[in-house]
């Protein structure tokens, strides 16, 4: 799998990823217009609903939660694969993730944004949305931290914030690459250059930045991994903590999480297969990457199949009249067509990925992934509407089907999501450039074991050497240790773990920031929930106002949120991002395919330093005098 990627040069990766960000073709604009049109159509329908009232939607007694909530659950689920690919696969060192991680991360953010609209749409009077925001009792509001709806707000808010930070931190080196490329092509004053310059926060790829960035990114992944599991679990508890048969199932949390990742991976395939063609990324996103995604889907397929058996089995095993009659109704009532479609769509179709011929054929991959997305949407709809449609009392049974307004709003949301993704594909690098470059050059930079203590370069008088290969840079750094020049810094388009060892950077204080944030966040979560509960001390549902079991959710989300924010703060402080200007000896090629080594020295030592660096076989050397 890695062989094909290793044949690429750093320059080629830079060009292949950044080139599609320049002039889009006619096809791109057509797609963009169609998706924008769809989004606009959805917005018009939403406006109509706000003006006329919720009567235009199909929700009514007894089915109070309809397609809007199903859409919310579906889109939150779609968001999950991004974190899976970025965080979980990073932690388990699955190297194939590199080519698809950026698109998946972007997809996560747009999917959460899309999901976040649906509770507002469902609310009807969306201008009172702030009622659901969890803040301590003020203005006669009482946020009940035992309510799953408040957990939802906390979890989704945390997920969006952390995903955005995670996405941005991973993007930093690539934004610098875009900045330098646009500066070279369009000049420093061009609006696009300035756009990337501002976003890149002065990233120059020196030893300090790479070192802390590597640690911080790892901690983000560590925090994001349990977060992704918690978010859809919390969404599942919206249903599972109720009394209704069909909702009250202990299995729901892992079942929802697996389904979310299942649909998210399918969406990644559906987006990447055409994007690869449209943006000419065939060299970078290869069939083996799709194959790996398909194989990962086999795991989620297994969990889905397991859940589809375990749930009706428990209904039957319970011997409860309501559980049993609900199971029978679901399999033989008006929703039976959805129920029975789920098995071919969500289990049998992706199970075909077990065959190499299917998972290596992009057409079949696309077709199967579309089937899974359809199946997962239908499943969410069935879960949301089924339980209230057919609850305990026969006289309370009703029916629900989405109206045309709901269908239009769904199409609008789809358009919004695709529009955001299309815009992203032109505005930002769609592939993690620095990670992919590390894949290419990584192996050659892991052979030298040597260590010296090194402080950052303070002087701007010195000599800069530019190398074309990381091995030459590493060899020169190793020789510097034995010379009189111990004030130096390097620049690299990729993280060089070996160079960090050579410059004596083993320890990053970012870990303390993160740990402090996690502890503070957990304590704050408990404190917020307990304090709010004590204001009125109301007993709801027979629960003690201060109940630790549900407050664990608030504390956990707080730990992840504050831990991530502290991690970001630690990163910014220790890498001195934004707080310092780019060094004047920085060269734009350092974000593309060249490696720089700057030796700071006195004016008297300049000649000796230049001679010393030239012995390391650099492409160029430049002398800088204050």
């Amino acid at each position: 799998m890695r062989g094909a990627v290793e044949q690429l040069t750093l320059k080629k990766i830079n060009n292949d990823v950044l080139e599609p960000m320049r002039e889009p073709g006619a096809l791109y604009w057509i797609f963009l217009l169609v998706t924008a049109g769809l989004a606009g159509w959805g917005a018009l329908n939403w406006t109509y609903q706000v003006r006329v009232g919720m009567g235009v939607a199909g929700v009514n007694h007894p089915v109070g939660w309809g397609s809007y909530i199903a859409n919310f659950v579906f889109w939150v689920g779609i968001a999950h694969s991004g974190t899976l690919i970025s965080a979980i696969l990073l932690l388990v060192r699955a190297r194939w993730r590199t080519s698809v991680s950026r698109s998946a991360e972007a997809m996560t953010i747009f999917a959460i944004a899309t999901a976040g609209m649906f509770p507002l749409i469902h609310l009807g009077r969306l201008w009172v949305f702030y009622y659901i925001l969890p803040y301590p009792s003020q203005r006669q509001l009482w946020p009940n931290f035992q309510s799953p709806l408040v957990w939802d707000v906390v979890a989704i808010g945390t997920y969006f914030t952390v995903s955005l930070i995670f996405f941005y931190v991973g993007l930093l080196p690539d934004l610098a690459a875009a900045r330098d490329r646009f500066e070279e092509r369009l000049g420093a004053g061009n609006i696009r250059t300035r756009f990337y310059k501002n976003l890149a926060l002065g990233w120059c790829g020196n030893s300090l930045q790479w070192h802390h960035h590597g640690r911080a990114y790892l901690y983000f992944a560590t925090l994001a991994t349990p977060l992704v599991v918690s978010v859809h679990s919390v969404v599942s508890w919206d249903f599972a903590v109720s009394l209704l048969p069909g909702w009250h199932v202990t299995l729901y949390a892992p079942y929802f999480v697996a389904g979310a990742i299942h649909s998210g991976l399918a969406m990644v395939l559906v987006l990447l297969i055409p994007m690869r063609k449209l943006l000419h990324l065939e060299n970078l996103i290869q069939p083996v990457h799709f194959e790996a995604l398909a194989l990962t889907m086999l795991v989620t397929t297994g969990i889905m199949g397991y859940s589809y058996i375990a749930e009706p089995f428990t209904d039957w095993y319970s011997n409860g009249v309501f559980d049993k009659q609900f199971s029978v109704w679901r399999a033989a009532g008006p929703l039976a067509w959805i129920y029975w479609l789920l098995i071919p769509l969500n289990v049998l179709a992706p199970l075909s990925f077990a065959f190499k011929k299917v998972r290596t054929n992009t057409f079949w991959l696309f077709a199967m992934a579309m089937m899974v997305i359809t199946g997962m949407w239908l499943e969410r709809l069935m879960i949301v509407i089924g339980a209230t449609w057919h609850d305990f009392l026969p006289h309370n049974w009703g029916a629900y089907w989405p109206t045309i307004v709901e269908v239009n709003i769904f199409l609008g949301a789809l358009g919004f999501f695709l529009f955001c993704f299309m815009a992203f594909s032109r505005l930002f690098p769609t592939i993690a450039i620095a990670d992919l470059k590390s894949e290419t050059a990584g192996e050659s930079s892991r052979n030298i074991i040597h260590s010296i203590l090194q402080s950052p370069v303070k002087s701007s008088t010195g000599v800069l050497a530019i190398f074309s290969r990381p091995e030459e840079l590493l060899a020169s750094i190793a020789r510097l240790n034995e010379s009189i020049f111990n004030n130096f810094d390097y620049f690299s388009p990729i993280r060089l773990a070996q160079a960090e060892k050579l410059t004596g950077r083993h320890f990053s204080p970012v870990r303390f920031w993160t740990l402090a944030g996690v502890l503070l966040g957990a304590a704050s979560g408990f404190a917020l929930a307990i304090w709010s509960a004590k204001v009125n001390s109301l007993i709801v549902g027979g629960k003690h106002p201060v109940s630790i079991i549900p407050y664990c959710i608030i504390a956990f989300e707080g730990a992840v949120l504050v831990g991530s924010i502290f991690n970001l703060i630690g990163l910014i402080i220790h890498t001195r991002l934004k707080f310092s200007e780019m060094p004047r000896y920085y060269d734009g090629r350092f974000s593309s395919d060249r490696f720089g080594l700057f030796v700071g020295c006195t004016r008297e030592q300049l000649k000796a330093a230049e001679k010393f660096l030239q012995s390391g076989n650099p492409e160029e050397t430049h002398v800088y005098r204050t």
Binding site: S233, V241, T314, N319, G541
Partner: protein, 348 residues
């Protein structure tokens, strides 16, 4: 040097043999009393050691199927547990003979006459275990075969879902949870990875990177187990239904169970996250060894805590009998493990 090591190993085997004989002898004496508590300890040992041994065989399959390349030939340390899995059939037969003392099904047939008949319960457990043993027999010889590995993983999940439902949830048939089968096999894998790590700490040439990866897997599976337990807890706690609540009511509110719950939460569920927080802790052979032993003891107690409070007449605190039974089966497990003819540590 080699002879000395061989001798030491032989001495270890003799010691284990002695320990196993003494403890099993003492334990089997207890059966003369035909008390419910004695049969329950047998059940606890069955649901602790069988998933542990089977899980150790399954772990290399999980790693191969997920294209993991970090094991460095140490999967043989896990595969040596294979020979304990057939012992499970023996335990199953013993449990069958004692079912009148510990199993509630003979009185519950009206609920599901066929499904909850003792014959069918034991038959499906036996079939599930035999399928697993059959697949494992082939897998031990060809443990890089991904297809075989996939089927082995599936058979593990199915077998221990069935056993989890029948032998852990089943002793209290009025209580049910769709998640219980999943919880049972995941916690079995947690016990297995802990045992594998413990075995690896005895390796002559230990690689700290591999040890760190193993301890990270312990953290991951402890959190996964915690998550699954919490997922049941929050749903049951929230709705407070009479049929469901007794499970958590007994364990969280009543003495002495609540003290064991606190201990299990602190040690088994959250312990690895705290104890293995630093890299130094994760790579220290001695520290990892001590923590693994504590975790395994904690996991044994967790199995006891899952079964005993729900059974009418269950003895409320583990005593000498439980200790002797645990040590007996642990020494039997170690004895079989040591006598296993798969050579440990040989490169693939």
């Amino acid at each position: 040097m080699y002879t000395a090591l061989k001798k030491a190993r032989q001495n270890g085997v003799v010691l284990l043999l002695l320990l196993a004989t003494v403890c099993l002898g003492l334990y089997s004496d207890a059966f003369l009393f035909s008390d419910k508590r004695i049969w329950l300890t047998l059940l606890v040992n069955f649901i602790f050691f069988v998933p542990l041994a089977a899980g150790m065989v399954t772990w290399p399959a999980i790693i191969y199927c997920s294209r993991g390349t970090w094991t460095d030939g140490m999967e043989r340390a896990a595969l040596r547990a294979f020979w304990f899995v057939p012992v499970s059939m023996l335990l199953l037969i013993f449990l069958w003979f004692g079912k009148a003392y510990w199993a509630p099904w003979p009185q519950m047939v009206a609920m599901h006459p066929i499904w909850l008949s003792s014959e069918f319960i034991f038959a499906r457990a036996a079939v599930a275990l035999m399928v697993f043993i059959l697949l494992a027999t082939f897998f031990v010889k060809r443990y890089s075969n991904k297809l075989l590995g996939t089927f082995l993983i599936l058979s593990y999940c199915i077998a221990f879902t069935i056993i989890g439902f029948d032998f852990v949830m089943g002793p209290k048939p009025n209580w049910y949870s769709a998640l219980f089968g999943g919880y049972f096999f995941i916690s079995g894998l947690y016990a297995a990875i802990t045992a594998w790590t413990l075995a690896y700490t005895f390796a002559k040439e230990l690689k700290t990177e591999v040890l760190e990866d193993l301890t990270k897997l312990i953290i991951t599976f402890s959190l996964l187990t915690t998550y699954l337990m919490y997922s049941q807890l929050i749903v049951i706690w929230y709705e407070n239904l009479p049929g469901e609540t007794p499970f958590i009511l007994m364990r969280l509110n009543l003495e002495p169970w609540k003290y064991f719950s606190a201990w299990i939460l602190g040690v088994v569920y959250l312990g690895p996250l705290v104890l293995f927080l630093t890299r130094r802790a994760r790579t220290s052979r001695m520290f990892v060894k001590i923590v693994c032993v504590i975790l395994l003891a904690g996991l044994w107690l967790e199995r006891w805590w899952l079964v005993v409070p729900g059974v009418q007449g269950g003895y409320p605190r583990p005593g000498l009998l439980e200790l002797i039974s645990g040590v007996a089966f642990a020494s039997l497990f170690l004895l079989i493990y040591n006598l296993s003819r798969i050579d440990y540590g040989r490169a693939k």
